[in-house]
């Protein structure tokens, strides 16, 4: 049964989509979280450790996909693990929904604290979920195309913030390197690693990519490019804001606030808002989509669209009730999320791969 009839190219579905999914939220929060643990060495976490982890995750995803080229993780987990696979699939769907509600909540908190403190949180959540549901109903092709359209705007606005913040930057803030040894760096790496691991979303999308030759290459590129962008973000926030980075919720946003051009253009944080809304819409839509698609596949439906509305309601309520404040959400993202994410990003896929190899399930050959 094919729930998604559309096909996307590997550039659209793998390279660009994973980039937006990871970067849109990571660039805002990750610098603060790494700075809290690793101080000025946060960039090593994002550049080296997280990239290695990301490549490892990508490798596992690709190996699994090569065994089951036309299946999503929900489908092949059932082949590999039998009835237990259903449980795994259900767990994945719950995880997708949970992560999505965290993203929605993060977004709501950000708009609330930074732009419109008097509007109720639920308004932002509903608006974002309507957009996400609409994109989900329109299908994978539409999400990928919309992402392809905003990708240049997204990267340009990030690059614009970096360039304009250059004059405020004091790179001596980054020195000395590795003052306290390797331990704090490893501790600071948890969050960027968990974010990089979100490339697991492609395990739901790979069957719908029509040029399969480039998938591995593009997934690796994506991990590396994300690493570079996040490293820039960490370096610049440290260089501009310095030691204070760890106390901020959204350091990248503060970075944009510091920018002035010729004393006339000030406060270009609207640029960040534009980037944030566009990127988060895509991210929410992607998670929404894979959750709906997964539910459809798990329950053996002929169409995933009927589950979009119930899932949307679930998402809305969950994200409203998730945290009591944005402080709590940051704490959760720092202390709980990474370990929770590792299970789903690397743990389960790795176990599935090992079982598949041992029981010789799935085709060894690459799909044509």
């Amino acid at each position: 049964m094919v729930l998604e009839k559309g096909k996307v190219s590997s550039r659209q579905g793998v390279l660009l989509l994973t980039f937006t999914v990871v970067v849109s939220t990571a660039v805002l929060t990750v610098p603060a979280i790494t700075a809290a643990a690793a101080g000025r060495d946060g960039w090593i976490c994002t550049l080296v450790v997280a990239t290695v982890y990301g490549l490892l995750t990508a490798l596992v995803i690709i190996k699994l996909w090569q065994r089951f080229p036309n299946k999503t993780i929900i489908e092949y987990s059932q082949i590999i693990a039998g009835p237990l696979g259903k449980v795994v699939g259900a767990a994945y769907i719950l995880w997708f929904i949970h992560i999505n509600s965290v993203v929605v909540r993060e977004f709501g908190d950000f708009i609330l604290t930074s732009f419109m403190p008097e509007t109720p949180l639920i308004a932002f959540i509903i608006i974002l979920l309507i957009l996400g549901a609409w994109a989900t109903k329109s299908g994978l092709e539409v999400i990928c195309r919309a992402n392809e359209f905003i990708f240049p705007l997204f990267t340009l606005s990030i690059a614009g913030v970096f360039l304009l913040a250059m004059q405020e930057a004091d790179f001596s803030n980054l020195l000395p390197v590795m003052e306290n040894g390797i331990k704090p760096i490893l501790r600071g790496s948890w969050a960027p690693m968990a974010w990089r691991g979100e490339i697991i979303v492609v395990s739901m999308l790979l069957p719908y990519v029509d040029d399969s030759d480039n998938i591995g290459k593009y997934l690796a590129y994506s991990v590396i490019i994300i690493g570079i962008i996040l490293t820039f973000a960490t370096v610049f926030t440290t260089a501009v804001i310095g030691e204070l980075t760890k106390y901020l919720s959204f350091p990248f946003f503060e970075l944009a606030r510091c920018i002035t051009i010729g004393r006339f253009i000030e406060r270009v944080e609207a640029l960040v808002l534009v980037m944030w809304v566009a990127g988060v819409t895509i991210k929410v839509a992607t998670f929404f989509y894979i959750a709906s698609l997964g539910t459809g596949q798990l329950l053996g439906l002929s169409d995933y669209r009927p589950v979009v509305l119930p899932l949307g309601l679930l998402l809305g309520v969950w994200s409203l009730e998730l945290f009591e404040s944005s402080i709590q959400s940051i704490q959760w993202l720092t202390e709980v999320f990474p370990f929770y994410a590792f299970v789903f990003e690397l743990g389960i896929p790795l176990v599935l791969l090992i079982i598949a190899v041992l029981t010789k399930k799935g085709g060894q050959q690459k799909s044509e």
Binding site: F115, L128, L131, E148, F264, A270, L273
Partner: protein
């Protein structure tokens, strides 16, 4: 939300149910012509009962023993002079050329068909329905005693507007001719530009009462067969009583009828039509209207003018980028003004903020109300100016300028900054070269203003994302609407928001899945030494 939209959709689709089918004026059984002339005449008279414009003429063919003939046509749709000289006269006078042959009842039909009728096109029909159809489409039909067949002679000539410069798409540089109401003239205008037998024109009749000719035009071997077949299929599916303008067809063949964006391109210019045909698109010409349809439409087309191809490429690229910017101004300027004044005052530089705040001091309305009021006034004026006869139209613009520009500001109803915003928006919206494209922007401006008033810049961004998701989901005859932006294609990008020089556009647009995508050969970039011999000569001369 979606359920509500579906309900509305159902209302629209339910309007015509199976039972109340449009009554089709078509005799169900085939009536063959009889060899008795009087019987045929009687039948035709009953068909054209109370049709005052049908002219019937009985006469005698001047043979050894006179044979009765009958000529029927619609007055005003044929060339009277041609009919009198080439049909009637040659039949009534017994031509001396055919001395050797004796004309009698048995061979008169063939002799007349082959030797007497000196009009260019002659056809034989033996079916009464066909006879009636031909008469109605402006042919003269000749019936002869003793023959169960009729001769259809093409002497059609209708009152026509001459080819003029199209009013809706004027150009500074470029051809001055435009389509007219006659389908035949329009096809000639196209054929004159594309002198190839690969240019195909297929005629369909649409409309049970109007029987309008609709021509589907494409270049065989370039246009994607799938798209051509889909166009024909969608046109054949139409069942409507009358087609008076091409928009009737447009609404029947578009992909998403509830979308605000136009999915069919229209033009009044044969040169634009031909350019689109060369790109592999399919043209649809409808009789009795100068506006022709082009499918599939892609969004960048609505920001393009044929002049972009007649001006040198740097100028064309400049104007295209300009239009891209002005489209966004037309869409977003009022909402950005509202958002900044209501929510994000800090984004303005302080001196500017003070100046605007000073102007707004006496204004009793919030920015949103002020903006929506002025935008509405502008829409009133525009509508009034379009519908009025031209001399009064000028009065409208004077009143508008005075009322909006002066009185409203001095009465303290609106700030002068708002007037600036509205007029800038208006000017920006006039730069969109296609009417349907500018309509979409005009309408979308209002929801964007509401979003801006409720959520500021965030609302604007949400609106833009909603538009983006919508246009990404749109397709026009299978072609994604915002190609070449998404899915991105670098070779198609050469002719979208920029225009590369002609010698660089080697391939036709890829997104349509064309059969023959090569436009011209590579490496035609001109330079100072285009001919090697010339170059040598130049050197030796120096």
């Amino acid at each position: 939300m979606f359920g509500f939209i579906n309900k509305i959709k159902n209302i629209f689709s339910r309007q015509v149910s199976e039972n109340e089918d449009v009554k089709i004026e078509k005799s169900s059984e085939k009536v063959l012509l009889s060899s008795n002339l009087d019987e045929n005449i009687k039948h035709l008279r009953s068909v054209f009962d109370r049709c005052n414009d049908v002219a019937m003429r009985s006469f005698q063919i001047n043979a050894e023993e006179p044979i009765d003939g009958f000529l029927i046509y619609i007055d005003g749709m044929i060339d009277e002079k041609l009919t009198a000289t080439n049909v009637l006269r040659s039949l009534q006078l017994n031509p001396a050329i055919l001395k050797g042959q004796e004309i009698n009842r048995s061979n008169v039909f063939n002799i007349i068909k082959d030797s007497f009728l000196s009009t260019t096109e002659v056809r034989i029909v033996n079916d009464m329905t066909k006879v009636v159809e031909n008469i109605l489409s402006g042919q003269a039909v000749l019936l002869i005693e003793g023959t169960p067949q009729a001769i259809v002679s093409s002497v059609r000539q209708m009152e026509d507007r001459s080819v003029e410069e199209p009013q809706s798409e004027p150009l500074v540089r470029g051809p001055r001719d435009g389509f007219v109401e006659s389908l035949r003239t329009n096809t000639t205008l196209i054929r004159r530009r594309l002198k190839t037998s690969r240019l195909k024109m297929e005629i369909f009749k649409v409309g049970t009462l109007s029987r309008t000719d609709v021509a589907v035009i494409y270049i065989d071997g370039i246009a994607n067969n799938k798209i051509v077949d889909e166009v024909k299929r969608r046109i054949k599916r139409i069942e409507i009583d009358g087609v008076l303008e091409s928009s009737y067809l447009e609404e029947f063949i578009e992909d998403d009828p509830s979308s605000i964006f136009p999915q069919v391109n229209t033009t009044e210019r044969p040169d634009r039509m031909c350019a689109c045909l060369l790109e592999g698109r399919v043209g649809i010409l409808v009789d009795n209207t100068p506006i022709c349809l082009i499918v599939p439409a892609t969004f960048p087309q609505f920001l393009q003018s044929p002049e972009d191809y007649y001006n040198r490429f740097p100028y064309a690229t400049f104007t295209r980028i300009l239009r891209f910017v002005t489209m966004h101004i037309a869409l977003l300027l009022p909402s950005a003004y509202i958002a900044v004044l209501t929510f994000h005052q800090e984004m303005l530089p302080t001196p500017l903020l003070i100046s605007i705040a000073g102007q707004r001091e006496g204004v009793p309305f919030p920015a949103f109300l002020e903006a929506i009021m002025m935008e509405m006034v502008f829409e009133f004026l525009r509508e009034a100016g379009v519908r009025l006869p031209r001399p009064i139209g000028q009065a409208v613009s004077i009143v508008g300028a005075l009322v909006i520009g002066q009185a409203a500001v001095s009465a303290g109803l609106v700030s002068s900054a708002m007037v600036m915003v509205v007029s800038l928006t208006a000017i920006a919206s006039f730069t969109i070269p296609t009417i349907s494209g500018s309509y979409a922007v005009r309408i979308l401006r209002f929801p964007m203003m509401v979003l801006a008033a409720s959520f500021g810049l965030f609302g604007i961004m949400v609106g833009l994302m909603a538009i983006l998701i919508h246009v990404c989901a749109l397709r026009s005859f299978g072609v994604p609407y915002i190609t070449p932006l998404a899915p991105f294609s670098s070779s198609d990008f050469k002719d979208s928001f920029i225009r590369m020089p002609w010698w660089a556009m080697i391939r036709r647009p890829k997104f349509m899945g064309l059969q023959d995508s090569k436009r011209q050969k590579l490496g035609q970039k001109p330079g100072p030494s285009q001919n090697k011999n010339d170059d040598k000569g130049g050197k030796s001369g120096a």
